[in-house]
């Protein structure tokens, strides 16, 4: 399983390195979303600053969708999907590999986005470690949930539209817990912030576990 996961993640990341989609398209997109939020909410610095964590995580959510879509666009042809199924790779390995590749790209996105809110919204962290831990847990959860649903809609011609519909509500808890944890990290309310990690942690654990178990039957169908 682990060997397969490494193999799949390697392939996905190599394709990413070659096409540079995450770097040149998803990262700018995420920043753009942040800026648009700024526009939509109008001026008012203070309001923006309090909204910043929520907006950050919304931008991360939308980026997750793009990264996941891209991850499955790689196998969009019927041929490639068949190929992956015939390759003799453990489905759990495919899941873990794809999720790892997505997570790696999300980390890159978040580094830029984090810098973005610090610069654009004038945000300053009181407890950086809290924000970091929250991000790591959230990234795992987002990647796992995204890939799980990506597989669900991968074979379909309607995947562009179906995937956001399926993924967004599922990752809403990440949005909430993530933004609250970041708010806490900004204000320094470490105790209350840490309690949100108790949602992010189990969320990630549940979806990774579900992916490992359910990816097999899913690949079957695609």
């Amino acid at each position: 399983m682990w060997r397969d996961a490494v193999l799949v993640a390697g392939k996905d990341l190599r394709i990413e390195l070659r096409s540079r989609v995450a770097l040149w398209q998803v990262v700018p997109f995420a920043v753009l979303v942040l800026v648009l939020f700024g526009f939509a909410l109008g001026p008012g610095r203070a309001a923006l600053r309090t909204a910043a964590p929520g907006l950050y995580w919304l931008a991360v959510l939308f980026s997750t969708i793009l990264v996941t879509q891209r991850s499955f666009a790689i196998e969009s042809g019927e041929g490639t999907r068949d190929g992956l199924r015939l390759a003799g790779i453990d489905p759990a390995g495919v899941f873990l590999g794809k999720a790892a590749a997505v997570a790696a790209q999300l980390v890159a996105v978040q580094v830029v986005l984090g810098a973005g809110i610090v610069i654009l919204f004038d945000v300053r962290f009181d407890a950086v470690w809290l924000a970091l831990v929250a991000s790591v847990l959230a990234t795992l959860g987002l990647a796992a949930a995204g890939v799980l649903y990506g597989a669900l809609s991968s074979g379909l011609r309607v995947r562009e539209t179906l995937l956001p519909l399926l993924v967004l509500p599922i990752v809403a808890p990440v949005l909430i817990a993530g933004s609250r944890a970041w708010s806490a990290a900004i204000t320094g309310a470490v105790a209350s912030g840490a309690s949100w990690l108790k949602i992010l942690g189990p969320f990630a654990a549940v979806y990774v576990a579900m992916g490992v178990v359910l990816y097999g039957p899913l690949q079957e169908t695609a």
Partner: protein
């Protein structure tokens, strides 16, 4: 020895359409079977069902000792399918595609270069992303994947289509070798003059069923026929 493919009244659905409507077919290891039939006869569906990609909903279906109706996943890693569209990652080069498949199968990467050389994918072709290869070059790359994996059951869907004369005779050689090494080969085709000479049995399909089974020319006689066939193509 048990047969590599054993179907009895097998019905398989593509979507909701009975693409296979009761197929009886047996292929022994080491045998080459050519499947002929008009468009829509169910040739592709037959190969995909044997690869465990199409659900068999009734009848018996045992491939390489695995019951397709119980566990299709077990079969998949042991068969090799060359479909109508090559299963390649467009962004990866032919070499990287083959390497991925080989490592996924848990085989040593040393097989990669040999397979690529064998299919004539050398020089620039090896460094070009598969999405930019010509139709025939893509099929060569897909064949290279099969060669490198050397599956126990080869499922070739119109393998001659898109290949030039030299690749065709190369393909014939590969099929013969695979059969001699004990693999079963099931190939569909619209070109009896190219495929029948390779085959131990020739199966005709129509309407999702096997309508006729004929004995093909025996392989020992073949080598000359193959030579002649490829000569006439060149």
């Amino acid at each position: 020895m048990a047969s590599a493919v054993h179907l009895r009244s097998a019905v398989a659905l593509a979507g909701r359409f009975p693409a296979l409507s009761g197929v009886d077919l047996s292929v022994a290891p080491g045998e080459v079977v050519a499947v002929l039939g008009p468009n829509g006869a169910g040739k592709t569906s037959l190969l995909r069902a044997c690869a465990g990609l199409l659900p068999v909903t009734s009848g018996e279906a045992v491939v390489l000792g695995c019951d397709l109706r119980a566990d299709r996943a077990a079969v998949r890693r042991r068969v090799g399918l060359l479909g109508h569209d090559a299963s390649l990652y467009d962004e990866l080069t032919a070499g990287e595609n083959v390497r991925f498949a080989v490592r996924a199968a848990g085989m040593p990467a040393t097989r990669v270069d040999a397979a690529l050389d064998r299919l004539g994918l050398v020089g620039r072709l090896r460094r070009t992303p598969a999405g930019r290869l010509s139709a025939g070059q893509r099929r060569r790359a897909a064949l290279a994947v099969l060669v490198a994996r050397s599956p126990e059951l080869w499922l070739l869907d119109e393998p001659h289509a898109g290949l030039d004369a030299s690749a065709r005779s190369l393909l014939d050689g590969l099929v013969m070798e695979a059969a001699e090494a004990g693999a079963a080969v099931l190939l569909s085709s619209h070109e009896p003059n190219l495929t029948v000479p390779l085959a131990d049995h020739v199966v005709s399909m129509a309407g999702g069923r096997v309508t006729e089974v004929a004995r093909g020319p025996r392989r020992p006689v073949l080598s000359s026929v193959t030579g002649e066939g490829s000569a006439s193509v060149a």
